[in-house]
Symmetry: C2
Subunit: 319 residues, 2 copies
Amino acid sequence: MITGGLGLIGSALARRLADFGADVDVLLVDSLNENFGGNLFNIENIRDRVRINISDIRDTHGLRYLLRDCDFIFNLAGQTSHMDSMSAPFEDLQINCLAQLSLLEACREINPSVRIVYASTRQVYGRPQYLPVDEKHPIHPVDVNGINKVSGESYHLLYHQAHGIRSTVLRLTNTYGPHMRIRDARQIFLGIWIKNVILGQPFEVWGGEQVRDFLYVEDAADAFIATALSDSTIGKVINVGGSEAVSLAELAGLLVDGTQTAGFRVCEFPADRKRIDIGNYFTDDSLFRRLTEWRPQTPLRVGLERTVDFYRANSRHYL
Amino acid sequence: MITGGLGLIGSALARRLADFGADVDVLLVDSLNENFGGNLFNIENIRDRVRINISDIRDTHGLRYLLRDCDFIFNLAGQTSHMDSMSAPFEDLQINCLAQLSLLEACREINPSVRIVYASTRQVYGRPQYLPVDEKHPIHPVDVNGINKVSGESYHLLYHQAHGIRSTVLRLTNTYGPHMRIRDARQIFLGIWIKNVILGQPFEVWGGEQVRDFLYVEDAADAFIATALSDSTIGKVINVGGSEAVSLAELAGLLVDGTQTAGFRVCEFPADRKRIDIGNYFTDDSLFRRLTEWRPQTPLRVGLERTVDFYRANSRHYL
């Protein structure tokens, strides 16, 4: 089962799992909440090889039924918009905190031998105190979303420690690629950039000097599979970083280089974003590299080209 | 307003505030949930000098009305039992996580200039990595209660940082004294000890070697007032420790010395408690001592004597 299975990473993971063949029964659970990343077009080319159940992870009764026979739960469903978490904090709490506890309680009761991999985010670290950021870095969430993701993580670890549920928490850095939401910046700011590139319009880079690392979506999907197949990751919190770290201005340059667009302009951070921005961030994921064979395979330039090519061909499904 | 105003610390704080005289209007909000620490007898001697409103902090509409004219909120209401948080995790989440966000959202909307002091717990640190434990110690909650208290803290800090609400988080060590719950161990294990002392029965000390510091309830109440009156504490997380640190066996000895009881016996930790016990703990509260004039005034021996005397006279209200 993949919660959030119609989203950016969930759908990439579904494709990987579908490629394992008929022995693997893949169930995708997704609310298709119009503000989130789910999109049926994301799994169009594997639609006959997966099962789809449209439901919200807040639907506790439905979830209890769906998870009873699962061997693996890739738990990716979540509200991801930092701005929305500040303007609608209770919805973020219900999805990222309460529903996570519900899922784990259901596993404890009716499927305690399930293996869970939970998708968390580098946002829980807040403003980095040192770089690169490893798993020992203090937790300091800077928005409601970060606070609730910390709770979601903690529940997964506690249910391992206290109840023996075999769970792992992955803290992913910024993930991008084909099938991401580009209608707005709710999933990742890069969505808006790509949208403008596709429409032939200039896009805005806020600040521009902040450094980030970027994880291509297929590398992210591979990280979930490598985790699920490695018992040494059980009960742990593990960072998953990108292939390389660049400034946002460099990222914009890479994006424009590979396309023929009107370019971009660097401008001031809006005040309401500035307040919750976290400065430079990039990941130390040496723990994950020690525990598994996983390595990011896709250079940023290649990933960006594939992404733009995908949206040039399929933008009508995403705009 | 004091949420949890009929509980151990809330009622001591109410007495202190009532003593300020007619200029201070004290509103006590308490659910009198039979599993928690609230008890009307706790405020019997100040009943004509305070207002009492029996309601649950999950009652969002009621709370919005009650807090609209408050200058100070001493936010002490909470589910405190670690075992109950494991067996009834959703109730713990509603009270210690969701209701805290509701209270802060209400303040942001209708009383943004209020001053809030939030009662958290040393439990958020989990098993200490070093001693004494200061505020920089990593957060590692070991039960559902700890996870939700971390969320409660984080919301208070975020609403300061993002919305300017003047809040402070106090992490209290084990607090004891007259007016605590002694019917069972839901508030503090010492409750059960006192109950047995009063009944002339031997009590059990689990383990016995673990070191803890203990904060007398009137010193805890003074800590809340010192915080509310010090602007330098706004936006901070601050430890509040006890007068001295002793092993549980020493604590039991002190308790028995001052009374004529059948004594105690040291025995093995029950398995379900062992799993979530955190070993030795005592507090570094030098930050609080730098920011305020507060010092604990009550030696442990004196506090224990006062506590036993109180329950000898009033046990029928607590058993």
